[in-house]
């Protein structure tokens, strides 16, 4: 058996095992770790197929960004507070299994028909070599033939980002601002009213005699020579 096939089966085996582990692991963080392993295996399969660019993009985008954000959320979740996936809900489990099976069959059907008919697309090895490599071929395809689709996808993603910001903003300003005001400190005497962020202080006016001198960046220090000079009016509460 040639080496490449052995390595391929090795990688594929690990990928399938880790994918199974993603579903089976009880701790969501373990699932995420196994998903990362699975992604890297898939990237390795891409490399074996000669699609280095896809492999690297797979790692950078899926492993390096999306899964990190997923982990970011999972780390904050107490595993005991999660709904239990492994027990109960037989209908959901059955439907899930069915959907998975259908998906698998679809992929199989596509592969099998392609093998039976023996038809090939335009991305043959010769064509790719003629362009100058996988990366170049991909670039040409995206930026010439599928430019419109590409731009639409990027617009959709931008809208998604904006939507996320809009959804997150009121939370930040409203609820958490409200919460911040509402918490009471153990060390704090009268809680709510003083827990508000400090507003501008009492007006400070320099009385005659003191010399406001520029100090630091954009600040002045009043150099008081006389103890009776009181730049601050008021004081105390109420």
């Amino acid at each position: 058996m040639p080496w490449e096939v052995i390595i391929f089966y090795l990688i594929a085996g690990v990928a399938i095992l880790s994918a199974g582990g993603v579903v089976a692991a009880r701790n969501p963080v373990h699932s995420a770790v196994l998903l990362m392993v699975c992604f890297i295996q898939i990237a390795a399969v891409f490399v074996m197929l000669g699609a280095e660019f896809l492999a690297v993009i797979q790692i950078i985008v899926y492993t390096g960004a999306i899964l990190v954000l997923l982990l970011f959320v999972l780390m904050l979740v107490d595993p005991e507070d999660l709904p239990e996936f492994h027990t109960g809900r037989p209908v959901q489990r059955a439907i899930g299994a069915l959907l998975g099976l259908i998906l698998l069959l679809e992929v199989a059907a596509a592969v099998v028909t392609r093998t039976i008919t023996g038809r090939q697309g335009s991305a043959t090895l010769e064509n790719i070599e003629a362009v100058g490599g996988n990366t170049e071929a991909l670039g040409r395809q995206i930026y010439t033939e599928h430019l419109l689709a590409f731009e639409i996808v990027s617009m959709v993603l931008t809208i998604g980002i904006l939507g996320a910001i809009v959804l997150a903003m009121p939370e930040r300003l409203g609820v958490s601002g409200y919460r911040r005001r509402d918490t009471i400190s153990l060390g704090h005497p009268r809680g709510t009213d003083l827990a508000l962020p400090a507003t501008a202080g009492a007006p400070i006016r320099a009385t005659a005699g003191s010399k406001p001198e520029p100090a630091g960046i954009g600040r002045t220090l009043v150099m008081a020579g006389d103890p009776d000079e009181q730049p601050v009016v008021g004081g105390g509460r109420r």
């Binding site: 911040r180 009471i184 704090h188 003083l194 630091g216 220090l221």
Partner: protein
Amino acid sequence: MSSTVAQPGTDGMPVFAEDMPPTGTYTISDEVAINESERLLTLNMGPQHPSTHGVLRVVLKLEGEVILDCDPIIGYLHRGVEKLGESHRYAQVVPWTDRTDYVAAPMNNLGCVMAFEKLCGVESPERAQYWRVIMSELSRIASHLVWLGTHALDIGALSMSLYCFRERELILDVFEAFCGARLTTNMMEIGGFSRPIPDGLIPQIREFLRVFPDRQKEYDDLLTANPIWLARTKDVGVIPAETAIDYSLTGACLRGSGVNYDIRKAMPYLVYDRLEFDVPLGTKGDVYDRYLVRMEEMRQAIRIITQCVDAVERMDTPLMAYESEYVIPPHKGTMTTAEDMQRHFVWVIKGISPPVGEAYAAVEHPKGENGYYVVSDGSSIPYRFRVRSPDFVNLGVLSHLAKGAMLADVVALIGTIDIVLGSVDR
């Protein structure tokens, strides 16, 4: 407001622990229970934490990186200095004060000694007063250097601490030459100084005065205009003037907010009324203002020391008010004449017995007002010895400031209040 449920302890004669009713019960107000139901991250910062300046413990309630609640817990370095002060003779109490704020020990000595002198009605001679001013201003610079180094280190400027400690070393050398100790100086005595001033001391101080302004320019270059420093300190921890007064803040925390209260000017002690200096006042009250105020205070301290050294250089008057009965008799004759030896012996063994009364004396410590309140019942041991340490009171504002700030701001806030846990816990 919830009412207190704490019970007073037992009274009267000694009772043993098992008979005592449980005291120190928590008075957790009902509102606090909110925090339990909220899904907040409780972070226990300290007492072993690199940037709580010792053994301060701060319990934080976080939502992400934003602080919703902050509860400073102190007492990990409590040694009962006040109780110890009530069980030693007057002259023996002074060394205890070294151990409170150990980065500016001469100032603590000075406050304590001034309270005793006020109680006894002793006034130290002029030359001793000048030397006291020199030593206290030197310790002000030393304390501010420690503050600057650790504050900058907390915010991440690694090298500042080493530069600051380099200059502090010069000051400690002066202390060592003056009294033999570097940290716990026990420098001041009731009535002045009983030991003569060493010969080379004035040139040594002059050398420091020559070197220091240039070195301080280096700190300015590193921090004052540094954009990251500005981002971390400007508009962080703003204390309005009213809040500062309300929370009884003193020192740079109060003056950073623009309130003109410096004991050296407001109620001059020693010879401060003869010296020319300015009190820097901030305009905004944030961390950056307090930084500027303290930097300027160091420059003013240099100004004061220069004047004092000029004044004291040709002075040849006594250093100790020996004419008073409350002052330790001169060492001079103790080895040769029996009378002197007896007088000295009796003073040391019996101590002094000030008149019945009470006195409060305060000095402008680098961290704020360091007050000593002494009550005498006519015996040779203080009846009550109260240390009003500035950073204990100043630290009370931390929980107010930390609310709504971010986690990284807490270390900036602790740094800007300038605490030394020996002084907070006493």
